[in-house]
């Protein structure tokens, strides 16, 4: 840690970890409900659990991204954050809005628009919160000594993410137009601007961990985010095939979705090549595991498994089935969860001064979470494919099919338990690092600086 204000990041990461644990709890509630153990139905019915599960994912990732920005931007801009106090205000307000939304879901206070369940009134608070965050980041960047490509791409991702929240707040009478613009938020976030954020964090980590020249890494960063937008923007069309809009989207969505894996392939190749190119190796092996892991798993989860059902001919059968849940789990894990865990693993020793670089816990966390998540993805995948055949090819009733595939959810819960064990191990490591402190500024010397 080079600047005192980078410590703010720690608390954003801590909030992230807390929300991640809660997300797992709600995931288990849904998993058990699927095998008929729905004992909490009266208090937490499936739709509540689902809204909480997906919204917590978004909030913990955003909290992680914000923490990453508060850590990365001062170091890249070579100056302290413009205001540490306001950063804490932003953190607390983020936590309050998040918690209010989650609690509200339990009292039937939401807008039932998949992934955007946060009610309108709270949307305005979210906007105010994000504006404060952006003001702090942008001011720091522009008053800084240098404006690096890594910092610019990361910031651009955060600014676009904020702008693209707005179409989701428009009211529509038609379910079709509603859905159409809802995807401007959901798709353009996860298959567009969030990839900029991921790319920015990835570039920062690769510069720090491999010691490869910044110019080389940043050139490829442009190529990757270029590919992301080139394919991802028009790739939004794959959500428009069968929701009641024009057939033009079948063609446009099909072609550009097929290109979407390229950005992730480039990201994976880039990360592995930079790692191999780097002659000096940073001692923080765990951070390296998560960084390279994020690039590779995102290619499999987001790139390949996404491609598995984005062609209109395939999607006609898989649209609205568990196949989507299969792709979504590995994609979010690889692309966004792992990159947040990577930046936490990298920055935590620097902020706290404790070099728990290569402990057993770190490795156990990495492997058990990944094996658990791959198992969950396979369970969802097999259930999904079975559902497609039974329900859509052999025309069985929805509920009969659900009974047939429920065994896969037993497997899912077992794999999820392994995954949860890994997450808890990761968080134990997080806790063992202790609190951030100013002394860490002197005790840690980054080998490449």
């Amino acid at each position: 840690m080079k600047y005192k204000s980078q410590k703010v990041a720690y608390w954003f990461f801590a909030l992230s970890m807390l929300l991640l644990i809660l997300q797992l709890v709600y995931g288990f509630i849904m998993g058990f409900a699927r095998i008929g153990m729905d004992g909490l139905h009266e208090f937490i019915p499936f739709n509540t659990a689902r809204a909480v599960h997906t919204n917590l994912l978004v909030v913990w990732l955003l909290s992680g991204f914000m923490g990453a920005a508060y850590y990365i931007i001062p170091e890249e801009a070579q100056r302290e954050l413009v205001s540490v106090k306001l950063a804490y205000v932003q953190l607390i307000s983020l936590a309050l809005v998040g918690v209010t939304a989650i609690v509200g879901f339990h009292f039937n206070w939401w807008e039932g628009r998949k992934f955007l369940e946060i009610p309108h009134q709270l949307d305005y608070l979210v906007v105010a919160n994000v504006l404060l965050f952006l003001a702090l980041i942008l001011l720091t960047l522009f008053r800084g000594k240098r404006k690096t490509t890594t910092a610019l791409v990361l910031t651009m991702g955060l600014v676009f993410a904020a702008l693209l929240y707005l179409p989701g707040m428009l009211p529509f009478d038609s379910q079709v137009t509603d859905s159409f613009f809802r995807w401007w938020v959901v798709h353009l976030w996860v298959e567009g601007v969030w990839e900029l954020i991921m790319g920015g964090i990835l570039a920062f980590l690769l510069i720090k961990l491999t010691g490869v020249d910044r110019e080389v890494i940043e050139k490829w960063l442009y190529v990757i985010v270029g590919l992301t937008f080139l394919s991802g923007v028009l790739g939004t069309g794959h959500h428009y095939y069968y929701i009641g809009v024009n057939k033009i989207w079948l063609v446009v969505g099909g072609i550009f979705s097929a290109l979407e894996p390229l950005a992730f392939l480039a990201m994976a190749l880039f990360a592995v090549n930079m790692y191999r190119k780097g002659e000096k190796k940073h001692p923080n092996k765990i951070a390296l595991f998560w960084t390279i892991g994020a690039a590779i798993v995102s290619f499999v989860g987001a790139g390949l498994l996404g491609f598995a059902h984005t062609l209109p001919q395939t999607n006609l059968y898989t649209h609205g089935t568990l196949v989507t849940a299969m792709h979504a789990h590995l994609a979010f894990w690889g692309a966004y969860a792992m990159i947040v865990l990577a930046i936490i693993s990298y920055s935590l020793p620097n902020m706290t001064g404790r070099k728990l670089y290569d402990g057993v816990r770190g490795r156990v966390a990495f492997w058990t979470t990944n094996i658990g998540m791959i198992g969950m993805t396979m369970a969802f995948g097999i259930a999904g494919v079975a559902q497609v055949y039974l329900e859509r090819k052999y025309k069985m009733e929805f509920m009969e099919v659900q009974d047939q595939v429920s065994i896969h959810f037993v497997v899912l819960i077992i794999c999820a338990s392994l995954f949860a064990f890994g997450v808890i191990t990761y968080i134990a490591d997080f806790y063992k690092h202790g609190r951030p402190n100013d002394e860490a500024m002197e005790t840690i010397k980054d080998p490449f600086q």
């Binding site: 139905h41 039937n108 039932g112 369940e117 009478d173 110019e215 190529v223 024009n246 059968y317 025309k395």
Partner: protein, 147 residues
């Protein structure tokens, strides 16, 4: 090999061009003659029905137009398949509807509210879904009877 300036130009030009194309296609697909969203048949009852649908996060379990929670059945064309009477009874039921043991929240809607939701389902059922409703069974009633 690509220089950093060229890489940046690729990013900027690619982004601007695809965004413009995306906005252009959006305008195209909602323009007269290309629009197939069935918006002209939206009545106040449909709007109220949609509001009830959202207010209770029905999409958290059910799917509609293929989007939703995958926990409960697809409801596009549900009126055709199940008939208004049964749907109304389920919506107004004071105890959880429990097909095959999987529970639905007991909403206990009033008769008017249930009618609004049914109006919403009827409106959804008329949308042109590019073949999704014809090919994917058991969405359409005729598909079931054919088998």
């Amino acid at each position: 090999m690509l220089s950093k300036q060229q890489a940046r130009a690729f990013f900027l030009i690619g982004t601007v061009v695809t965004f413009l194309a995306f906005i252009g296609l959006t305008i195209y697909s909602f323009s007269d003659g290309n629009d197939q969203t069935n918006y002209e048949n939206i009545t106040p009852a449909v709007v109220r029905g949609k509001f009830i649908w959202e207010e209770n996060n029905c999409m958290g379990c059910h799917t509609i137009l293929g989007e939703g929670g995958y926990y409960a059945p697809e409801l596009t064309k549900v009126v055709e398949r199940r008939g208004e009477g049964l749907i109304k009874a389920i919506l107004m039921s004071p105890v959880p509807w429990e097909p095959n043991g999987r529970k639905m929240v007991a909403y206990g809607f009033t008769s008017e509210e249930a009618d609004d939701v049914i109006a919403f389902f009827n409106w959804i059922g008329e949308i042109d879904l590019n073949g999704f409703d014809r090919i994917v069974s058991p969405l359409a009633k005729d598909q079931i009877t054919k088998n």
